[in-house]
Amino acid sequence: MDHWDRLFGLEAVNTKMDGRGETKYKRLPGRGPRRGGFIAASFSRCSLYLGDDHVLAVDSTGFSEDYKRFYFSDIQAIITRKTRRGAFWSIILALMIASSSMGALFLEGESFRILFWILSGTFLVFLLINVFRGPTCICHMTTAVQQDQLPSLNRLRVARKVIEMVRPAIERVQGKLSPEKANIAQSEGILHPTRSLRRPRARGHEIRHDDGIMHMVAFALILLDGILTGINLLHHTAIMATVSSLLSAGYCICIVIALVKQHDSDLPGSLRRITWASLGFVCISYLLSYVLMVTSLVTSKPEKIATQWDMYRTMLDLSPQDSLLVMGVYAFVAACSLALGTLGLVRVTGHRNDSANASRAGQNLGGKARV
């Protein structure tokens, strides 16, 4: 044990070298990945620990750990925001269950049916776990100099539990919020409930105007594809199937561009959600197409399929009248396309009308002012 160990070893300053002077950490509930976007972007798992005088946030990859300490005396606020991530995953899982159950019910091969039943059972387990864990949230801890997300608190129930565990420790150091402060704070909000707020702004960027042209094109293509798929459902032709494929490729690109354009824009939340839902629909429809392709390749004679073109021809020849599975997929795609396309077009038209009215009103006011 060298002088550093003697110095930092036992009492107050923590060191791990002799294993005796370390801070006693108590594990707090919750564990979650640090996300970059909707899907986890890294392999690091985050968890929280309660120390003697701080909360320790640990980001662990298994090979290394990164630490962030929030001292009780510095914590100013904990902000919890409920999200729809859990509900979204429930919908996705329910759709997966529905599509795999459809495969299990309508496919002819016994082995395929068993496979699809296993798949739907697995999705059902995930769905139940997701529902049981409760609504999702995002939690931030604020100090005077930073605001940091706590990825381990990704469920509302866990976040509440952890806040109630941390609160006494913070209040032990900072004291309780005086009733006067609390009353002043409350009355400020009550006295000025409708005070004007700044326009919402994204991190460091101003909100810009978007007329929603790209959204309109995307939703128009989706609607057109829905109509074509509906016609295909009743009377299947290879040409219409080809046009439908081209349309779906077109609106897929348009949706991606629309999603990029709607970032930091003034487009209404409902329109943004419909665009995201359209992306989800595109993913599901591609997944269903893949299932159809695999089943058609298995059921048709593989020796007939020599090139990519043959494979595509086989797909085009799939008629809804031939099998219940194909009919189900066509019906699902047609219904979703029509619903999303119509909703999106109505909403984007509404947004454009609102923008036009607002600018017209502005011009009129300007004109009157000049007069």
């Binding site: 110095l7 300053v13 290394s64 925001r81 100099v145 209040e171 900072q174 707020l197 919402p200």
Partner: protein
């Protein structure tokens, strides 16, 4: 006093929305939020100490001879003024000792990153088992890492040496299996 903003739309949230018992919609984006505010929010940033000017025969700071010493460094014993005094986990240290402690990784309270040598060794022992043949190379490395870093600082969170032991046992078994295999093949010829 800074204002608290919605974590979704970044619009400021009025004080009336703080410390509510339930989630309430953000006045701007209507996202359900709950804001738990603590007294530090109303205190704002603490001011740092400047250090008092030296008068007559008072002891001076080692780093600032014009400033009055208020405390000795708990590590090196140098006299420190209020500006140089770094309080860390109840100990008073000078900036130089903090820097040295940080470099050597001895002050856990300012450690921001740790390599988990035990985790690396265990994974090195386990993962290559998928390919089987790779274990001939990785098993000795895993044993070397386990022994080399047996006393290295581990996670700040309490961890036992069980991963090191497991890595040594698994790698040892792999080496044993390779030895038996080679001996068996050699004896057959």
């Amino acid at each position: 006093m800074e204002e608290i903003s919605c974590t979704k739309c970044h619009a400021p949230i009025p004080a009336g929305y703080y410390n509510t018992s339930n989630l309430i919609p953000c006045p701007s984006c209507h996202a359900p939020v709950k804001i738990d505010v603590f007294p530090a929010f109303y205190r704002g940033l603490r001011q740092g100490n400047e250090g008092e000017t030296l008068i007559d025969d008072q002891a001076s700071c080692f780093y600032h001879p014009q400033k009055r010493a208020v405390i000795p460094c708990d590590h090196c014993g140098r006299f420190l003024c209020a500006l140089c005094d770094v309080e860390l986990g109840g100990k008073h240290l000078c900036p130089a000792c903090v820097e040295t402690g940080k470099k050597k990784g001895r002050i856990v309270n300012i450690d921001r990153h740790r390599v988990l040598h035990d985790g690396v060794a265990l994974r090195l022992a386990l993962f290559p088992m998928i390919t089987v043949w790779l274990t001939a190379v990785t098993a000795p490395i895993a044993i070397y890492l386990s022994i080399r870093h047996w006393n290295s600082p581990m996670s700040v969170i309490r961890r036992t040496k069980v991963r090191f032991i497991l890595a040594i046992v698994v790698s040892g078994l792999q080496i044993l299996a390779w030895t038996i295999g080679i001996v068996y093949l050699a004896s057959r010829r």
